[in-house]
């Protein structure tokens, strides 16, 4: 079975704190892709990053970083020095090899308080 679990339903932190959003996945595919999307209050899903299963290098983009660990089937997302504009629902997704559909986690609602 293919599945994505985001155990944190909601996280609330004060601005400038660091925060990590967890993502654990299950798949039997040898090759797969993982994605993170952001859904701000406006509702439109915004692509953040994709990671190939063969590339376990961590990625950093400004205040955002991602930690991919195949050994624990996790693809966690960290925001450093959070800002109010980071408030959104964040989704982790696994791409199916067969038809490229995305299998989504339930999402984590991130609230950054000023």
């Amino acid at each position: 079975a293919q599945k994505v679990t985001q155990a944190q339903t909601e996280i609330s932190v004060v601005e400038k704190e660091d925060v990590t959003l967890d993502c654990v996945y299950e798949t039997r595919d040898t090759t797969y892709y993982l994605f993170w999307y952001k859904q701000p209050p406006s509702g439109e899903l915004v692509f953040l990053i994709r990671r190939n299963s063969f590339d376990e290098q961590n990625e950093i983009s400004g205040r955002y970083s991602w930690n991919f660990q195949k050994s624990t089937s996790s693809f966690n997302f960290t925001i450093t020095a959070s800002q109010v504009v980071d408030s959104a629902v964040y989704f982790c997704a696994l791409e199916r090899d067969s038809n490229y559909q995305l299998i989504w986690g339930a999402g984590t609602k991130l609230i950054i308080k000023p």
């Binding site: 090759t31 892709y33 994605f35 439109e44 692509f47 994709r50 490229y100 559909q101 995305l102 999402g107």
Partner: protein, 115 residues
């Protein structure tokens, strides 16, 4: 350039009526996806089009749901005899082509309310 557009942005309909939701993908994108986002179910895949190939309908929840894509571009999702459980946000996404790892670009969605 223009992103994925969807219309209408909001639709309120009475139970039992048919509705049509429209998606205009990004120009040049050959792959098109429909997803549904509802409170109880999260985001779920509905249907996938790749070019002129037969669509993958494996995610459609019932035979009341159908979709077509004309000329490899615009797509219409039709829900017949709507039920209250069909209330959700229907999201359309497109990608450059149906290949592994291509990011999908999402439209703003159509919020469907069945009364």
């Amino acid at each position: 350039g223009a992103g994925v557009s969807q219309s209408p942005s909001n639709k309120v309909t009475e139970k039992g009526k048919d509705v049509e939701l429209r998606c205009d993908p990004i120009s040049g994108h050959t792959a098109l996806y429909w997803y549904r986002q509802s409170l109880g179910q999260g985001l779920e895949f509905l249907i996938y089009f790749q070019g002129n190939s037969a669509p993958d309908k494996s995610g459609l929840p019932s035979d009341r749901f159908s979709a077509e894509r004309t000329g490899g571009s615009v797509s219409t999702l039709t829900i017949q005899r709507t039920q209250q459980e069909d209330s959700a946000v229907y999201l359309c996404a497109s990608s450059l082509e149906g290949r592994q790892g291509h990011e999908q670009y999402f439209g703003p969605g159509t919020r469907l309310t069945v009364t």
